[in-house]
Every structure is written in C-alpha cells, then in structure tokens.
C-alpha cells in the first residue's frame, strides 16, 4: 500500500487514537501568554485518581500504546507519580510536558528510573529575556535547572519543546545546539491562536518571510527535529516536510481535558469541538467510535474557497483550530496561508466576534498588599 492510500485510510479514522493528549490539570504555576488551555487555576471538577485510573484501564483495553500528558502543569497533581506509574504498568507509555518547576534532583532520579517514559520540557527562548517574555519571569532558569537535573540523573534523551514565534525564530540553530549539548531531542511546534494564544497570536505568530525561514530550516534538519506534524501548512512552499501531511483531529488524535471532556484535538478546547466526556455512559471508547462530531471529521473535508488554489494538495487548507479561533471559515485558507490568501480574509474579520475559549482557568490578577493598604486608607 502506498503512503497516499495509508493517509486516506487514516483520514477515515482509526479504531483508537494513535496520539492522545491528556491534560491532567488546569492548575499551573505559570501563565504563558500562548497557553492552549488557558490554564492557571485548578478546576474543582477535575477527574479523581480513581476516575483517572479507570480511564487508563480503558485506554489499555483499546491498545493505546502511549499518551501525551500535559496541563496546566501536570506535576502539580498530588497523584502525578501514582498515575504515571499506573499508566506504565498497564502498558501505556507516557510522554509528559512540563515547565520543569518540580523536577528537582530527587524527582529527576525517580523519573530516570522509570521505563517507557519521555519528558518534554517547554522552552520558548534560548535566553531568559526571549523565553520569559512568553512564559513568565523565572521560567527560563526553571526549565534549565530541570534539564540539568535530568542530565545529572542520567535520564537519557529528554525533549526540549519550542513553540516557534516571531521572536525566537532566529534562535532555531541555538535551540538545536542546546538540545545537542544535553543529548536531548529538539521538538518545534506551531503557535496556535487557541486558549490565551487567541490574544497573543497577532503579536507572536511568525511573519510570512519567517515561515519560509522555518520551512527551509525544517527541510535541512529532516527527521532529526520533531514537529508533531504541526507545520504541514508550509508544504505549499515546496517539497513536503517529513510526516503524514494531514490534520489528525478526531481521526488519529484527540484531547482529554482535566474534567474528562473529549475534544477533537489539543488546539480546539471549545464547545463546538467537544465530542463528549469520558464520564459519559460507554466511556471514552463510545465517544471515540460514535460521537457525531468525530464521525463528521472523518468524512472527506471540502476544500471550499481553497479548491481553486494549486497548493491545496500540499497544504490541505492548513489547521482547523487556527482558522476557527481567528474567525475564518473552516473550508478556506489558514490564517498563515503561505500564498497569502488567509491574510486577505483575516483583514476583513471583525476580531471582536471571534470564538472565545469555552473555559478560562487564568488566575485572577491579585491585588498587591501595598495597593490593599492604600485602599484601606482611602476607605
């Protein structure tokens, strides 16, 4: 079977996802400006330890080989190691994403002793100024400390995960050198206008000239750099990048949020893309196999306004989430369409009407002690 027909098979969906992301908690010590899940505060409806383990049992029965755990900051959960160990004991390998805040020397040794575990540390700049502007004060040092601790504990090749923005695109070589210095693997992904990213996207997303830069850089690094297949919209620039070149939403990927809701992909935490809940009768398996939303996503998608463009076969119209949260029609060009079709439509969109994330767990801005005192004096 050729790669082409494999992709068309995959587009019709699999019996279970290949790549399932599970955000364990909305709680986070950071408040990154591009957070896909608008994380910050814990949601009181979070799955309990028992529910989480039952969900893992279900994934084991569906033969889901591995899961991607994220958040929020997943290590904030007190049962984090319990769930990690339980998942691995059930034959479900884990890759988890973290900002590194809780990987001290002890935890690093504990993690290094586990099999079937990958760790992905987020870093959005090779210097504190660039990184902290997006991820918050102190977050660069936090991530580097975690990397040092993992290296010292002999964890092996962890991953450094970078969201490419207008401000760090010139650092791609430096990110690669940093990863190499740790014997780590570099992963670069696309910035999405999802979650808090809806507000920061316009200032952070790469310019069209920078998109060409990213494409050329990825082409020259091939499969040595991971991308989570996230840059397939750039394929309109030339030969395809390594990967399947398709949107996996609801077909081979999905997202489980901390309260058990199932979404089509990690970038669309919005009611319109909610397929059900692992708490529903029939659990996750029924949602994956029978949800009308997911079944619809597995139908052939219309090229719509893109059908007259010669590049559609290469870029597939880009990312559904990127279109949705920038107010563009789903059967039209990606806002970052390299041919420039997205830009024109984007200019006509009234951004005030764009869909907002259905949930926001951003922490409220705290009134500082000084200002409280001032208020007291005034009153």
């Amino acid at each position: 079977m050729s790669v082409e027909s494999l992709v068309s098979q995959l587009k019709r969906g699999l019996d279970a996802p290949i790549c399932l992301t599970w955000e364990l908690t909305y709680a986070c010590n950071l408040q990154c400006v591009h957070c896909l899940s608008s994380s910050g505060q814990r949601d009181p409806r979070e799955l309990t330890t028992g529910e989480a383990k039952r969900f893992l049992d279900e994934l084991r029965d569906l033969q889901v080989f591995y899961i991607n755990i994220g958040g929020g900051e997943p290590m904030v959960r007190r049962d984090f190691f319990e769930l990690l160990e339980y998942s691995i004991s059930q034959g479900i390998g884990v890759k988890f994403s973290t900002n590194g805040a809780f990987i001290d020397a002890d935890k690093a040794r504990r993690l290094a002793a586990m099999d079937y575990l990958d760790i992905q540390i987020s870093l959005d700049g090779t210097d504190a100024v660039t990184n902290d502007a997006v991820r918050g004060a102190g977050s660069y040092d936090m991530a580097r400390r975690a990397m040092d601790n993992l290296a010292a504990a002999g964890f092996g090749p962890f991953k450094i995960s970078v969201v490419v923005t207008r401000h760090n695109v010139d650092q791609l070589d430096e990110f690669k050198a940093l990863a190499d210095s740790y014997g780590a693997q570099l992963r670069v992904t696309r910035l999405r206008p999802s979650g808090r990213g809806a507000d920061s996207w316009h200032d952070l997303h790469p310019t069209n000239a920078q998109q060409r830069q990213i494409y050329d850089w990825l082409m020259s690094h091939g499969e040595n750099v991971l991308t989570g297949d996230s840059f397939f919209h750039l394929n309109a620039l030339g030969d395809p990048l390594p990967g399947l070149n398709m949107c996996g939403a609801g077909r081979v990927v999905c997202l489980i949020d901390p309260i058990g809701d199932v979404y089509a992909c990690p970038f669309v935490i919005h009611d319109e893309f909610k397929a059900g809940s692992v708490r529903d009768d029939g659990g996750f398996a029924k949602v994956w196999k029978q949800s009308p939303l997911l079944l619809e996503l597995r139908e052939p998608q219309s090229a719509g306004a893109c059908s007259s463009c010669g590049s559609y076969d290469a870029c597939q119209g880009g990312c559904m989430a990127a279109k949705f949260f920038t107010g563009l029609p789903l059967d039209g060009p990606d806002p970052e369409c390299v041919v420039g079709h997205g830009e024109h439509i984007l200019a006509e969109v009234n951004a005030a009407l764009n869909p907002k994330p259905s949930m926001d767990h951003t922490k409220p801005v705290r009134v500082t002690l000084t200002s409280t005192r001032k208020l007291t004096v005034v009153s």
Binding site: M1, L14, D15, A16, Q63, F65, G91, Y116, D118
Partner: protein, 95 residues
C-alpha cells in the same frame, strides 16, 4: 513461480519472530505495530501482513510462514521487501 533476487533469499530463509517489545493493534487497513523499546510506530498496511507477522514464530522461515498462510507466490516479493523493512525497524527479529 516468481524469481526472487539474491538478497531476498536471506530474509526468506530466515527464522523470524515478532520483537518481544512490539505490540500489534488491529486496524481496518492492517495493524499498527508499536515498539515500546525504541518508541517507533510502524504501519502494517495489509491484513495478510498481520497474519504472517503473527505466525512467524510457528515456522522455520519466512518462506514456510508464507506457505502456511496461503500467500500466493507472486506476492512473495512484496512480503520480502516489507519484512526486510520490518526487520530493520525492529518490529520483527531473527530467532
């Protein structure tokens, strides 16, 4: 019978088995093979591939497995290519 090129003789006459780190998950097109040790995911793109992969350990060679699974000889070349690739990606191994 289809004439096979010399290199193919090696894997055809080799006793193979599924790598013990590999799990197969049936899918409409065939199966997904996941190697827990090297974390590679590989597609087995035909149900017959899955049948053969699962029977390897019961026969003395890939040739004997293909015969036992009733795979028509004119298809053997493609199976040889596929199993060479599965061997290099550590989905199957020599025993």
């Amino acid at each position: 019978m289809t004439v096979l090129h010399t290199d193919s003789m090696t894997v055809l006459d080799t006793a193979l088995e599924l790598n013990p780190h590999v799990a197969l998950r049936p899918e409409p097109f065939g199966a997904l093979a996941y190697n827990y040790a090297n974390r590679r995911l590989v597609f087995l793109k035909h149900p017959d591939m899955v049948k053969v992969a699962n029977s390897l350990a019961h026969h003395d060679s890939l040739r004997a497995t293909l015969e036992a699974c009733d795979i028509a000889p004119e298809r053997w070349n493609s199976f040889v290519t596929a199993f060479e690739s599965l061997k290099s990606s550590e989905v199957v191994r020599e025993r």
